[in-house]
Each structure stands twice: as C-alpha cells, then as structure tokens.
C-alpha cells in the first residue's frame, strides 16, 4: 500500500520527534546543570516524548484533506523555487532590485500577462520599500 500524504506527514513528524529527542538527550551540560533534577534537557525531553505519543495516538486518524492534483503542486513548487532563486541571487544583488525580479517572475509564473499591473507591482513595492525604509527611516542594510 502506498502511504497517503497524511501518513507521510505523520511519519515525518515522528522522525522529527525522534531526532529532537536524540539531540535533547545529548545537550552538553556544565557540572552545575548536571547536578540539577530539572535542567536544560528536562523540558525538551518532555516535549519530544509527548509529541511522539500524540502522533502515535493519532496514527489511525484520517484527515478530511482534499487530494492535491499535480497542477497546483507544480505551481507551489514553482513559487518555492523562484523564492529560493531570489535568496541565492541576494548574495550579489541589491535587495530592492532582487525583489523587483522576484515579483516579476512570480506574477508571470502565476499567470498574470497584463503588462500594466505587473509593471505597477514591480515598480511600486521596491520603490516604497527603498524610499520608506532606506531613505526616510534611514535604516542601514548590510551590503
């Protein structure tokens, strides 16, 4: 049987809980902390333990979620990848210029074809940001 999306998600949370518990167990402690009954590890261990229990308890539960078609999935993946590209580009690109690029790419990807709204969006947002934040408020952005 192929696991449903929901089961996959629960499996993922379970894995996360296990990893969290493992890391919590290995939190380094100075001699003061080690002597205490309740220390830096205690609450994380409780959270992790409860999470694993809660996920196991809800194992049988089915969520009334809608099935996702391939089309919308692709659209989301596109948005994520474009944003990722923007983040990579920020290494050498000015924030506001990069933002203009991201806005254009996203609007095009989501199906906007009219030139006027795209131009308006692409020019307004970075301009408002640049003028408002860098010029008027004089906030210093690291280059």
């Amino acid at each position: 049987m192929i696991p449903s999306g929901h089961q996959l998600l629960k499996l993922l949370i379970l894995g996360l809980g296990a990893g969290y518990l493992y890391t919590a167990w290995h939190i380094p402690m100075d001699p003061w902390t080690a002597e205490e009954l309740v220390n830096a590890r205690t609450l994380p261990l409780i959270y992790g333990g409860l999470l694993v229990t809660a996920v196991l308890m809800s194992w049988k539960r089915t969520a009334p979620s809608e099935a996702i078609e391939a089309g919308p999935m692709l659209r989301v993946a596109g948005v994520v990848i474009l944003t990722l590209g923007f983040l990579l580009a920020l290494q050498f690109l000015n924030l506001w210029l990069g933002l203009a690029g991201l806005l254009t790419a996203l609007a095009l990807w989501l199906g906007e074809r009219r030139l006027v709204p795209i131009t308006a969006l692409v020019i307004t947002v970075p301009m408002v940001g640049w003028v408002g934040i860098e010029l008027l408020l004089n906030l210093h952005l690291p280059d």
Binding site: P31, W32, E35, H140, P142, D143
Partner: protein, 314 residues
C-alpha cells in the same frame, strides 16, 4: 565649543568637515549598550567631531553575530566602531564566540558599572556579614538571584564573593532571571532574598526605600551610594567592573587608531557626554588604546581563573 575641541585634537583631523561614523551595536534598542552608543554618538555629533553618526542594532548570537560580521567585513568597516562590554570576554572564554577582543582594535573604554548586592528593605538580613553568617549556617536558607544566566556576570560576582568568605558557591541557590528588571520584581515580591545586579539598576529603589544595598563590588564607594561599603572594605576583596567600550575593526592603521582615540577623548571631555553620565548615573571609565588593552588582559585573566574554578569553562 569647536575651539575647545580643536585644542584637544591633533590639527590634521580638524580642518575639513566632520566625517561620518557608524556605530555597530550588538544588542537591541533600549539596553545599556544601546544607550551608551547613542550617548557617545550624540557627544561626537554635538561637538562637531563626527557627523552624521549612524547606528545599527545587530542582535543575534548573544552579540556573536555583530562581532563575526565586524571581523569578517573589516575591510569595509574603517569608519565603523563596535561597542561592546564585559560579556565579550566571558563568552569568548566560554567558547561561545570564535573571536575575542584580540581580534579587534581596542579604542576606548567609556563607562563602568559595578555589581551591587541588594536585599528588600524589610529583610531580616541588614548587612553583608549577616548574609554571610546566614549562608554559613545553611547555604540553602537564602535564595539569591540575578538578571542573567548562571555563569554570567551577576552570578560570577556573587559566587566569587561567597567563595572568598569560605562558602561553597555551588551550595548556594541562584535563580537566574531574564533581565535585571524581572529579577527586581522577584526580589520585591519575595521570590528571592538577595539580588546581584548592576548598581545603576537599583538606585531608584534605594531612593524609594524599597531595597537596601549590602555591598558593591567596586574599588571605591560610589558617589550615588556613599553609605554603601565596598566588598573590599568588608574583607572580601572582589572588584568587578562591567565596562562598555569601543573597538575598531581589525587591520585599522596606527594613524587611524590614534585619530579615533583622540576623537573619543575629545567627545568624552564634552559637556554633552558629562550630561549623559549624570542622567544615566554612569561611572566614567576613561581608558584608551594601550591602557584599555592592558585592562582587558587583566580582566580576562581574572575571569579565566574564576570561571574555570566554578566549572564554567570545560
């Protein structure tokens, strides 16, 4: 005013229009570091030494991110000064920062704050010797607290003082709070009996007769608290200053360093700075260049010894 400043500065720096200066603050707005940076910036600006002075609050990593950023981008930071304080040394020693003050160029110390040991006004403990007596009888009978985590200054000063009187600091109870303000609520509300925090944070409570200061960890009595004995007077020679000071980026030329030192010296001599000192009740600590470096080395040694003895350095 300009004339006065001119006489203090080497001539070369003055002829032209004042240049811009950027201050990097490794903490959020509102705290001690932030107000110190803004006060010295104001003094620089109003004395026409530097203008405009801009500020950048870079939080993160308990100050580690600003430090890392400053060292990494040193080339571009020739007109930038980083403000820092004693936790720089503590965290470097504990290995929380990969860098230390040795990676920076110390310019000047500006102010110092000394820790005070405080009890409620209606506490049955009215003096330092009585506190020691109570702790010697039963170290768990008194709950102490402070405005920062265990192993940080508030705790270390207290622990060192206890140790000097022969009490095992690990046997005493210490509750850390998130900031001196919350620790003060805990003291006033009765959750802790003894508070160790910066002397500046307790002045208004002393004025309103809510608390009593048992001792301060300073080398001499403070002007604002003339009746409070120092720990040394009480036979416990513990002196510990939380300094705040300015650093230039690594690779700053000797000429530029000298110029910055002269500029800060001029600014700390200005009326604006004297006013700020009075308003915030800060104790000035005027150390520049090599003197500041020596001071940092001495404090690093002192802290190295205490922290490893208490088990905070592995």
């Amino acid at each position: 005013m300009l004339l006065l400043v001119s006489s203090l500065l080497p001539g070369a720096a003055l002829a032209a229009e004042p240049e811009r200066l950027h201050l990097l603050i490794p903490a959020g707005p509102g705290g001690g570091l932030d107000s110190t940076a803004r006060a010295i910036g104001k003094a620089l600006q109003s004395s026409d030494i530097r203008a405009p002075v801009s500020y950048e609050n870079m939080t993160g990593g308990g100050g580690g991110r600003a430090l890392g950023h400053f060292v990494e981008t040193a080339q571009r930071q020739q007109q930038t000064l980083l403000i820092n304080s004693t936790p720089l040394i503590v965290r470097s020693l504990q290995g929380l920062f990969p860098q230390s003050y040795r990676d920076l160029v110390p310019i000047a110390a500006l102010v110092a704050e000394f820790n005070a040991v405080v009890v409620r006004a209606d506490s049955s403990i009215v003096s330092w010797p009585e506190l020691i007596k109570a702790l010697q009888a039963d170290p768990r009978s008194v709950t102490t607290g402070g405005g920062s985590v265990r192993g940080s200054m508030d705790h270390v000063v207290l622990a060192q003082a206890l140790e000097a009187t022969g009490i095992n600091p690990r046997a005493a109870r210490y509750l850390p709070y998130d900031g001196g303000g919350k620790a003060m609520v805990a003291l006033l509300g009765g959750e802790i009996d003894v508070l160790s925090t910066g002397a500046g944070e307790v002045l208004s409570y002393v004025a309103s007769d809510d608390v009593r200061v048992l001792a301060i960890a300073a080398d001499k009595r403070l002007a604002q608290l003339p009746d409070v004995p120092t720990l040394s007077e009480l036979g416990t020679p513990v002196v510990f200053a939380n300094w705040r000071g300015l650093f230039a980026a690594p690779g700053t030329t000797a000429a530029q360093t000298d110029r910055l030192i002269a500029e800060i010296e001029a600014a700390t001599g200005s009326n604006t700075w004297q006013q700020s000192l009075a308003q915030y009740a800060w104790t000035p600590l005027n150390l520049t260049g090599a003197d500041f470096t020596l001071y940092l080395e001495a404090q690093e040694q002192q802290l190295q010894a205490i922290l490893s003895e208490l088990g905070f350095i592995r």
